[in-house]
Amino acid sequence: MGKNVDIKLLESIVGKENVSNHPAIRYVYGSDASVHQSMPDVVVQPRTIEQVQEIMRYANAELIPVIPRGAGSGMSGHTVPIDGGIILDMKRMNRILEIRPEDMYCRVEPGVVDDDLNRALKPYGMFYPPSPASSRIATIGGEIANNASGIRSVKYGATRDYVLGMKLVLANGELVNLGATTRVEAAGYQIHRLIVGSEGTLGVIVEATMKFIPLPKLRCLGMATFDKIEYAGDAIADIITSGAEPSMLELMDHIAIKAVNTTLNIGLPDVEAIVLFEADGKVKEAVDYEMQTMKSICEKHHGEVKAMSYDAQERTRIYAGRKKLFAALSRYKEGLACTALADDMAVPYSKMAECAKKIHEVAEKYGVIMTAYGHCGSGVMHTKILMDPTKKEQWEAAKHAVEEIYDYVHSVGGITSGEHGIAISKAPSWKKARKDLLPVMRAIKRALDPNNILNPHKLMDAPEDWLTATPLRYWVKA
């Protein structure tokens, strides 16, 4: 903190109106959707690639950290400037530069919002599928940096599957063109793929070439209830291994159901688990086939299919509980905050139910409330820790709970993060599980950013204890 940043110089690069080191602006840009908080020294809003290059040349020469930031919706502290420096707010670089329906790709600036891109693609009958839940505000640059995905990743994959290429400004200000505009490329290192998920540590994405695909014509959504979460877990594993092609496969545990029912009163069945399953496609017979396959599998595993519909309004009704789950959790009990810690692990399909049970067990042991839900079709288990964030002992309990859950996840072959990334909060557990990988990742980081100015102290370089890595953004009382 307290870097001697030359504000006048930055102003000369991007214009006075696009630079601010006002304490209020620094304070606002010091947090995101994570539990962390640390103020930058200055916030800059570049408009052009050349401006980004100039800023990087300056920062590299003066050893000032630079943290690229999209919507700032990361849940693990990706854009929290742990050691101060310059926040590069990329939201002003938000032009869709080109849409080529004939070649099925587009070129966009990093600040383009996911939903805006999809609105622009819709008239062509196309869509960009990875859309995370935050697609209404998430920027393409942020999604690439985090390899974002969402409810339909079970069928359509994650951001990495749609990045054909990009323009990247390196730590020293050099501009490199990565990837291609074609669907395939077999010419050396696929550096653009390395940048996906690199969390702003290797370069600043200043343009992206993204592929898109045709919109499905039909969608059908079903809901099955289960008396035991093991049955739901078995059904999910069976659906996947049967070769069925769900476009969505979601699980909600009894705590999630209770949260929705007690806070939103939308009358979800009072059972131990709910599975939502969806298929989409061009031909009704094909979609019907997928739905019937999944329905039969749910029934085989003692599930009761309560609803199945193609109708958009009915689908909205069926999905309402899942859609509003986050809201329900936030309002589960007065005084409890919904914190994103150990929130997006992925486990093998066969361990889904066991993982949910482990989460409940750990929550009870440490006196916090945790739910298990998620995009189980892609192996992602979401959970949130509900706790009183003003109490120091609750944070200590959360820390132990996170550690124990991750030890379990890794012991069954799962991974630390399927969707939300590592950054600060998840780094200790991830580093513990991937010790072998860290030297390689550090070597790559040093090669591209020898002065360690790009989003430093994240991922493999993050502190060993997330709880003390930065001040918490909550006001913890003594």
Partner: protein, 375 residues
């Protein structure tokens, strides 16, 4: 690439910042009540999507999340209440788009109203706000002049609201609407509902004003002509039971003798009506009943963009409020319609002022069309 080894950039060495709170921080008696709500906010930033201020100014501090973070900083003492912070806290039109889009429905405008109250208590007072409130205190209305209500000695109390009280000819017409649908209006010597005291942060003065307002009311049940007054009264006077005029008209219009107008317009949903009172269908139903076709704006209903006129923004930063209105009006012009209708008199004023400058579209109150259809 040159390599230096400054201590602070060694990956193994971090200068972790410390939470700095001032011992003598501003007294936050009103914000304190919102600490749990501020902790409920997960700072997901979904509120950026529709925030009219963020769309105009583009820094995160201008968006709803940014303002909630500022309020948190004031509460914890991490932020000092500088003129800049005060300006940002007041640059909000209270459109509630943020609350509508929030996963947890965090009431950011209510939090900002509390922050404003603490700032006022700490002595951060805009002269323009003070002047407006003094006008209300002196004359009972926001215009600071003697306004004579069009007294009617009927049965059902009608609250006109300051803006319609000042537009006496319009008020007469709107009362005629009520008469034509079988209501006998009782107009009384009303005063302002107190909304400006509330949204601008003058909580203590509001309590005193509320007592005066109640004294003038003939009863707890009445019909209110103004969208904003209705919303404010429902929120701030739980013992009162106002009905918004549009509810009553929709109920009774099918039994009235209506002339079809054969018009094509667009309809702007006032924030306090759509998001505040949840009335999205009612105005559209009425327009349909009187033969008016509605071409919808790109954002409508509960997701409608704000006109920029609320939350005291027209007083605090008129230029910003008008830029927001201009953006909204341009959307309407692009639809190719000749008229934008709305219900809230503040929307009508702010959008209307911009419309008059461009002469491309007319802004009317929906009640004017109802009156025409009942003539």
């Amino acid at each position: 690439m040159k390599s230096k080894n400054k201590h602070s950039l060694n990956p193994d060495t971090i200068t972790v910042s410390q939470r700095v709170t001032k011992e003598d921080k501003m007294d936050t008696q009103y914000l304190k009540a919102w600490e749990a709500e501020l902790n409920t906010c997960i700072r997901c930033a979904y509120c950026f999507e529709g925030c009219p201020i963020f769309k105009q100014l583009g820094w995160e501090v201008d968006g709803a999340r940014g303002k909630a973070v500022l309020a948190y900083g004031l509460l914890t003492g991490e932020l000092e209440p500088s003129d800049y912070v005060v300006r940002k806290i007041y640059e909000c039109s209270f459109c509630r788009d943020c609350t509508e889009r929030c996963s947890a429905n965090v009431a950011i405008p209510d939090i900002l109203a509390a922050a404003r109250a603490d700032l006022v208590s700490a002595g951060f007072v805009y002269d323009e706000h003070r002047a407006l409130l003094d006008k209300i205190k002196q004359t009972g209305n926001i215009f600071g002049k003697k306004l004579t209500p069009p007294i009617r000695e009927g049965e059902t109390p009608i609250l006109l609201g300051c803006r319609f009280l000042e537009r006496s000819e319009d008020a007469q017409r709107y009362l005629e609407i009520l008469e034509r649908i079988g209501i006998k209006p009782k107009v009384f010597d009303e005063i302002c509902c107190g909304m400006p005291f509330g949204v601008l942060g003058y909580k203590d003065e509001l309590i005193h004003h509320q007592q005066e307002f109640r004294k003038r009311l003939p009863g707890d049940e009445f019909i209110c002509l103004c969208t904003t007054c209705t919303f404010f009264i429902k929120k701030s006077y739980p013992e009162l039971n106002p009905r918004y005029v549009i509810e009553v008209i929709r109920e009774r219009l099918p039994n009235a003798n209506v002339k079809k107008l054969d018009l094509k317009v667009t309809y702007h949903d006032p924030c306090n009506l759509a998001r505040g009172l949840g009335m999205v269908d009612e105005p559209r139903d009425i327009l349909k009943m009187i033969g008016v076709e509605v071409v919808e704006l790109p954002t409508n209903g509960k997701e409608a963009e704000c006109c920029g006129g609320g939350g005291g923004l027209l007083v605090t930063n008129r230029e910003l409020a008008e830029k927001i209105a201009e953006r909204r009006l341009n959307e309407a012009i692009e639809l190719g319609v000749d008229m934008l209708v709305t219900l809230c008199p503040t929307c009508e004023l702010n959008l209307g002022n911009i419309a008059k400058r461009g002469d491309k579209i007319e802004v009317r109150n929906l009640l004017d069309l109802v009156w025409q259809a009942l003539k």
